[in-house]
């Protein structure tokens, strides 16, 4: 039984990792006041360019770099349109997702059915072999740790650093941040690019580690769940961790329940993660005061310097 629990927790961790990457990036982006609904598209772009690079060079780490870089490039299209051309953020984000789906399918066309050497799980002597804590703490692939490190880094950045404060100020009141003399648009560009980097890495995790192959639309809605996670976490990084594991966990648990032969119709079980998202959304949004307290006040609003 303990074995089953440990094994399931390990599986949940890998299911949570792509969500953690993407949600951490989107959190920074939204904190700066920009709502980027193109996460799904950026993840797909990251997944395909990461995989293609790994397939061509034979080096999965290079693939990961390419995943992050392509995510940044994709996010910069969004940044240019929304921040420079002042287009509607919701519409542009949707366009980015549609564009990313098409572009990734086109680029990935030649790579369908290929495989690469995945980024393998690390194995530390002694530590990884410890009972229970060994595999749980020391038996993952490097990207799981990277997602943790980045999440902690983001938490420290937001809560402890001067630039973190500035970022939040920009998201909460762009006009006054601008008046004080902070480069609002530039900061938002940087935040959007960070979101792109993280979404790209999340996509890369899917195609380089999770299932080392490329398939059209392989993110299968994870980008949207990452968006829901940011709201779920009420824009607080430490809660992203909890949320990601919960969401990844429900996906895995419903499969577990099936495999255990519990006899609940599988179609209903498959609905669970989506219904859970709605329920959680309602639970946290219900408290308008709390949402107001945490949500960046300028979220989704275009900013145009008055001079």
């Amino acid at each position: 039984m303990t074995e089953l629990i440990i094994a399931s927790m390990m599986t949940m961790m890998t299911a949570a990792t792509p969500l953690m990457f993407a949600a951490t990036g989107e959190l920074i982006c939204e904190r700066s006041g920009v709502l980027n609904l193109g996460v799904e598209g950026m993840m797909l772009i990251g997944a395909v360019f990461g995989f293609a690079t790994a397939a061509v060079t034979g080096n999965a780490s290079l693939g990961l770099l390419a995943a992050g870089a392509s995510g940044i490039l994709a996010s910069l299209i969004f940044a240019f349109l929304t921040l420079t051309m002042l287009s509607n953020q919701v519409a542009t984000g949707l366009a980015l997702t549609i564009f990313g789906t098409g572009l990734s399918a086109l680029v990935g066309f030649d790579y369908v059915g290929e495989t690469i050497d995945r980024i393998a799980a690390i194995h530390l002597p002694v530590l990884s072999d410890l009972p229970v804590v060994g595999p749980l703490l020391f038996g993952h692939d490097p990207l799981v740790y990277l997602s943790f490190i980045l999440l902690i880094g983001v938490a420290l950045f937001l809560n402890r650093s001067r630039w973190g404060m500035i970022l939040k100020a920009v998201g909460d009141s762009d006009v006054s941040a601008h008046a004080i003399g902070y480069p609002v648009v530039l900061i938002r560009y940087a935040a959007v690019a960070f979101g792109g980097l993280m979404a790209g890495l999340g996509g890369g995790y899917l195609s380089l580690v999770y299932t080392p192959l490329w398939a059209e639309n392989m993110t299968a809605g994870r980008g949207w769940i990452a968006l829901a996670l940011v709201v779920f976490a009420s824009w607080r990084p430490e809660r992203v961790l909890f949320g990601a594991i919960l969401f990844g966990g429900i996906t895995i648990l419903q499969l577990n329940a099936q495999a255990a032969g519990l006899g609940i119709p599988a179609a209903f079980m498959s609905m669970l993660p989506y219904i859970a998202t709605i329920v959680v959304l309602v639970l946290i949004s219900r408290d308008v005061v709390r949402i107001r307290l945490n949500a960046p006040a300028c979220l989704g609003r275009p900013f145009r310097a008055e001079r």
Partner: protein, 357 residues
């Protein structure tokens, strides 16, 4: 430096020129992509954008494909104008097909001519009911309608899967997923023999004009327009935000549901797991490409349908992969959004006069 100055009113010329420019630039970008893929750009572009319009069967297919896109797009444009982001039309489409098609599943021996109209009404109600969930959660609990409506897409898909391979499965279907074929009275009559254009296509063509009338001539249309352009002012003028949310979601859901049941009763003739090739999502592009104006949506729906039909033609006659179609749609939208700048802002060139001020 260039400066931007908001226009007091939207520029009519810019509003109509920008989608045209977006299409032209997309065609040019497409040509470059085709060149890079080693295809002759003029031939490929011809196959994509012109060929579907050169035959009667091509025209009929464009009309059939554009139908659901236009219906859903018109519905969504109300909400998008008012700043209500219903992106779950795909789910509402499926819900409409389920509720409307369910009638034909239960009355599979019916010979009543009332069945088809009843199904259309039920389909609309189904789509509205599905859209009522995000409306309720938004107005009661402040839950983000983007995420709620999107999550409900997956729920609707799975519900349909459950129904067609569980309780509604065709008893003569050897266990395969799918309901019985609908009775003849539940099938949309064809307009021309040998072509797929059907009565539902006509309904689709009429809806944009009805919507145009509502938007331009009714008090409701006025509030939608005001709420979208100046929500604060609208609130001061006594327009209730909740009512706008409800109305726009119900209209969007109702029309998406109608599109769903029309598809089920025309091109498919039964319920099966895949009744939509992503109409609900593509309709979002259509709504924007049509500048959220009902007649614009009509034209945009036709334009996007042409790329779909052309995309299939390109696979058959030029060996171009299917993904190109999706890429085109994303690029069109990017160009369009970029051009939006010019409809809302004037670009002020640095002239001596302004510099002197």
């Amino acid at each position: 430096m260039l400066r931007l100055e908001p226009r007091s009113t939207q520029s009519f010329a810019a509003a109509w020129l920008s989608p045209v420019m977006a299409l032209v630039l997309t065609a040019i970008t497409g040509g470059v992509i085709f060149l890079a893929m080693g295809k002759d750009p003029s031939t490929a572009l011809y196959i994509y954008f012109i060929e579907p319009l050169t035959t009667t069967s091509g025209l009929s297919e464009v009309a059939v494909k554009a139908g659901p896109l236009i219906l859903i797009g018109v519905g969504l444009s109300f909400g998008f104008r008012a700043g209500v982001w219903n992106i779950g039309a795909e789910g509402q489409y499926i819900a409409g097909a389920i509720v409307g098609g369910g009638l034909a599943v239960y009355f599979y021996e019916s010979e009543s001519t009332l069945l088809l109209p009843a199904m259309l009404v039920f389909g609309m109600l189904g789509g509205m009911a599905w859209a009522a969930v995000p409306a309720l959660l938004k107005t009661r609990f402040n839950a983000n309608e983007i995420l709620v409506s999107l999550m409900l897409v997956y729920v609707a898909e799975l519900l349909l899967v459950h129904l067609v391979q569980g309780p509604w499965r065709n008893p003569q279907g050897w266990g395969f997923p799918g309901t019985r074929m609908f009775p003849d009275v539940a099938i949309m009559p064809l307009l021309f023999s040998g072509k797929r254009a059907h009565l539902g296509t006509l309904i689709t063509l009429a809806v944009p004009f009805i919507a145009w009338f509502i938007l331009a001539q009714t008090r409701f249309g006025f509030t939608v327009r005001v709420f979208g352009s100046a929500p604060l002012a609208a609130r001061h003028a006594g327009v209730h935000g909740h009512r706008i949310i409800w109305h726009s979601l119900l209209i969007g859901g109702g029309l998406a549901g109608l599109a769903g049941v029309i598809e089920a009763t025309s091109t498919i003739g039964q319920l099966m797991p895949n009744i939509s090739p992503g109409y609900g999502f593509t309709a979002i592009i259509v709504a924007f490409l049509g500048r959220l104006h009902p007649v614009g949506v009509l034209l945009a729906g036709i334009a996007i349908a042409v790329t779909y039909i052309g995309g299939e033609g390109a696979q058959i006659s030029a060996g171009l992969p299917k993904a190109v179609t999706g890429l085109f749609q994303g690029i069109i939208l990017f160009y369009l959004l970029a051009f939006d700048l010019f409809t809302r802002y004037k670009i002020i060139l640095p002239s001596r006069r302004t510099a002197a001020q």
